[in-house]
Symmetry: C2
Subunit: 389 residues, 2 copies
């Protein structure tokens, strides 16, 4: 499959095809309406991304025909600028508002007690309770999002391109004494600028980039970014995190690297992680069960003595977020299908040594998989010469 990276927003036919898939599934499940409250699901169906505040935005999908977008009056003009596709707008004045003028009063203009209405499992309980008819939890939009269209694949390929360049710069800047927070500031700024140059209508409200690395004293604790003043040191393992959403589409790229030399005790875990990673790539192909991929990877790690060094699943998907279903995780009994996209990132974490993890954004093809991100892969390439600051 040839990737053709694009930074455009979806056109009407892309949005219509997403809606059609949702409506087909609603039909199967016997739903009259489906209610989206999740900003990511709303972005998926409308291309509208806002900063999130306490005034609810709700997309009401009928089993056929155009959606209704319930929004605060304050947001009307620019919701209409950003949104794509056929949409009926319905607005309420404010939150809070006098009796009879609240958002849930407008909801009842469309939904009636006789309607069977689907809602997201993460839907707030007060929105659930405002549905006048029967509310059925069913993550239809999340499910449709799992299989990517050609447009989505190429949009994510664009984000991958930005990350590839950012990651290369991150490794160039790596040096003992260097503060990762400074690289983050510079590189996330460059990625943003590049994105805007490539699409002058870029939407910063659905854009975020991280470009940092964790030095060996933190890399065993992979979500620990508590020390903004931390610095890189000679040796390693350092672990990079270059990730983000460009105009609403996410990807990630991570590597384990060393400065100057590889400590003796880090060599074996590095090679074991690479072996687990190769196994994960071998298994992440159409027809396999997601749970099984993770179980086999975890079993491999356990067989090498790392049972206590596992902190997370083998992978997760991307799309209009940086982290979403489906998951390569034990207990997640679903089949891998073409045009799914996963992070493949088996990792091990040794408190006295550090973390060992590569992550790439990987497309499942008809016959196997395709790495969409690109960075050095061998211990030799990832042992960087020491530069003086």
């Amino acid at each position: 499959m040839n990737l053709t990276p694009t930074n455009e927003f979806p056109n009407e036919s892309e949005i219509a095809s997403r809606l059609e898939k949702v409506q087909q599934e609603m039909h199967k499940q016997g739903l009259d309406y489906y209610l989206c409250h999740d900003p990511d699901n709303i972005f998926y169906l409308t291309n509208f991304a806002n900063f999130i505040h306490e005034r609810p935005f709700i997309v009401i999908v009928p089993v056929s025909g155009a959606i209704t977008f319930l929004i605060p009056k304050l947001e009307e003009p620019h919701v209409q600028i950003r949104s794509v596709g056929e949409i009926n707008y319905l607005s309420y004045f404010e939150f809070p508002a006098p009796k009879g003028e609240m958002w849930f009063d407008r909801l009842q203009d469309v939904l009636k007690p006789s309607h069977r209405v689907g809602i997201e499992s993460l839907c707030p309980v007060n929105v659930h309770n405002a549905v006048p008819g029967e509310a059925i939890i069913s993550d239809i939009v999340d499910d449709v999002r799992m299989i990517k269209s050609e447009f989505e694949i190429n949009r994510i390929a664009y984000t991958c391109q930005l990350l590839n360049e950012g990651h290369a710069t991150l490794l160039e800047q790596a040096a003992p004494g260097h503060m990762p927070v400074l690289s983050h500031k510079e590189i996330s700024g460059s990625m943003t600028q590049r994105m805007i140059t490539d699409n002058l209508s870029s939407n910063l409200l659905c854009t975020n980039f991280a470009a940092v690395s964790q030095p060996p004293n933190l890399s065993h604790d992979p979500h620990n970014f508590t020390d903004v003043l931390t610095t890189m040191v000679e040796g390693g393992p350092h672990v990079t995190v270059v990730a983000g959403k460009a105009n609403g589409y996410g990807a990630e790229l991570e590597r384990t690297f060393f400065l100057g030399h590889v400590p003796e005790k880090a060599k074996k875990p590095f090679e074991d992680m690479l072996e687990a990673r190769a196994l994960a790539y071998e298994l992440t192909i159409p027809g396999n069960c997601m749970s099984e991929v993770d179980r086999k990877v975890n079993d491999f790690f356990k067989s090498r003595g790392y049972a206590k060094n596992l902190l997370h699943r083998t992978g997760h998907s991307f799309g209009v977020t940086n982290h979403e279903a489906p998951f390569l995780a034990e207990g997640y009994e679903h089949e891998i299908k073409p045009n799914m996209i996963f992070s493949i990132e088996p990792g091990i974490y040794l408190p006295s040594i550090g973390g060992f993890r590569f992550s790439d954004t990987v497309l499942v093809t008809e016959s196997g998989n395709l790495k969409m991100t690109k960075a050095p892969e061998t211990l030799e390439e990832l042992t960087l010469p020491i530069k003086n600051l």
Copy 2:
């Protein structure tokens, strides 16, 4: 009241006093436990702020004694670094996970069918459904958050200081042809740097700053930030938005300004807005009803012919967020009390002319109110001389 701005994190006694208020209210409402899922409520009760992902974090508050914090194993070490107060940790391996090992299985280790459990109105319906006993919607933590402690007032005063300086720089940089996005980048960077210098343990995960202005072609649509390349022009009204959270505590400061001259048709709306603002300050005092403040301000605007130019309520509160209850809004029938903090920001929006709004962060005192933010207030001061770029 003297403000003593501080950028410290809350100490154990501050956190204990918040918990005590929540537990007193739980006792009154006959609840055995209260379940917090909202990251802001969790931050309020623990000082822990994370980037939000699909793995749930849940704080379980018993009617007496220490809280239990249910977290993914992945997060354990740094949750413990950031958290303040007495906490029992309970972890689950991953999301998703095999049967019996999911987050909701651990929830049942604490909550039993006989318990009466309070939950937030914004709690996801799947978390609500995982409560084994009776779940009662009651926004106890949100309600406790409405009255600020001395510590919180001084923390917000610190954020206001940063915003005051950022706002002054924004006005200094204003010039026809200048892109607000460039000011945003520079000023939000400086505010972040200043915050880190003042507290080397700063937490970027609960920090965000905006420092932009909307030129007259956009300022009538106050949440329209769709055009990143927009530029300032001679004349006005431009409207500034300098807002944010520094280490988790929010505030805002906004002004309407002109470059070089004030268009004739902008003079009257500017003066009318100032008059409405004076009225709002007069009314935002202990004992008054929040709904009434907004109704009187709106009635004033309507009496001057602006019925079609209203887009939002008079104000909202701040705290561990930039926007929260209580609200100065018609329909919100609650009494104003000392140590509440509000934005006071009556605004009018004239599509062919632009927006007219000032916003300040205002503390309600025993006898009146105190403006915590500071920026020019008169039309003369806000008509800036034209600088060449």
